[in-house]
Amino acid sequence: MFRPFGLPKVKPMKTKMKLLAALVALGAPAMADDMAPVTQDTLTLTDGYAYATLPNQPVAGGFLTIANGGEADDHLVAAASDIAGVTQIHAMMMDGGVMVMRELADGLPLPAGETVVLQSGGLHLMFMQLNGPLVAGETVAVTLRFENAGEVAIDLPIRKKMAGGMDHSATGGH
């Protein structure tokens, strides 16, 4: 059957909720591979990460969550990083066992009051022509260009590539 999923995960987030989320985030123990939240204009960028590359892997994905707390729409127009010859914005979905990916050449809309999640299996920054491997524990410096908020520099922590998705019951077991 035709069962699209993974794109684009947009959920409205009210200001109170965001305040709550921020408080929860403050109270949570800081993990070494967590990105410090970045706020510019009406945008709040959180949960940025990339995965360590496999040997000879010439491309990599970058992920983050972008909340637009303003009353005006914004738009992620472009992304760039020194680690990659080319950085694009891609949308991906799984369809009946087939992975389908498309470049969003004109960027990604960030509607007012909504949160857009770039995550494994869906929307992502696509780093191509990598200059070298992405190593777990290091960071990827990325500059995002928004229509209204302007340019924002972030550092995506590089995580070790782990088995994806599943709630792994044996995490502590083997």
Binding site: N56, M99, V100, E103, D106, E147, K161, M166
Partner: protein, 199 residues
Amino acid sequence: MAATTQTKMRTAIAIGCLFASAALIWFAWVKPMLEDTSGVDFGRGDYILQGSDGQPFTQQTLKNGPTAVFFGFTHCPDVCPTTLADIALWQDELGPAADNLQVYFVTVDPERDTVDLLGDYVGWVDGVVGVSGSVAEIEKAKKAFRIFSRKVPLSDGGYSMDHSAYVMLFDKRGEFFEPIGYQEDLNRVMAKLNRLLGG
């Protein structure tokens, strides 16, 4: 403002195209391919490819099973590394029994993925063999395994690949056993693998 609206329109169209492409691929290629049971069995064909273990990869290879076969490519930011990480997890869960399951990663992008390059790439997971060959032989293998793939042009002049992203299991005689879907629940996957390896 006109330019802004136009940009948003174009993005909306791009996302719409993603869904449309997915639907088109499914109905035009994948569904008919999976429903076409008139031809050969999964994995049967006269393809001759090369493995990073120095051995040829042909339909005979499957007869030294059980095997798990996945089609992917190295210019793949998410699904292919995730699948390899999943395979490493399955091996971990299987313990010593994992040695009885030979895993093959066959490229759908033979123009860029040479056997040597693939060997290093899949070498990240113990015992996984990278498989490549000529474009024509890869096409034959794709047909034999009912794998869909096609190039998608990118604005920098390069390309990505849409492709089937499931792992196919074959029993020790080389008969198709069952597929494992992308990100399938670990308990279900382990049940399949245990049945395959116990049988």
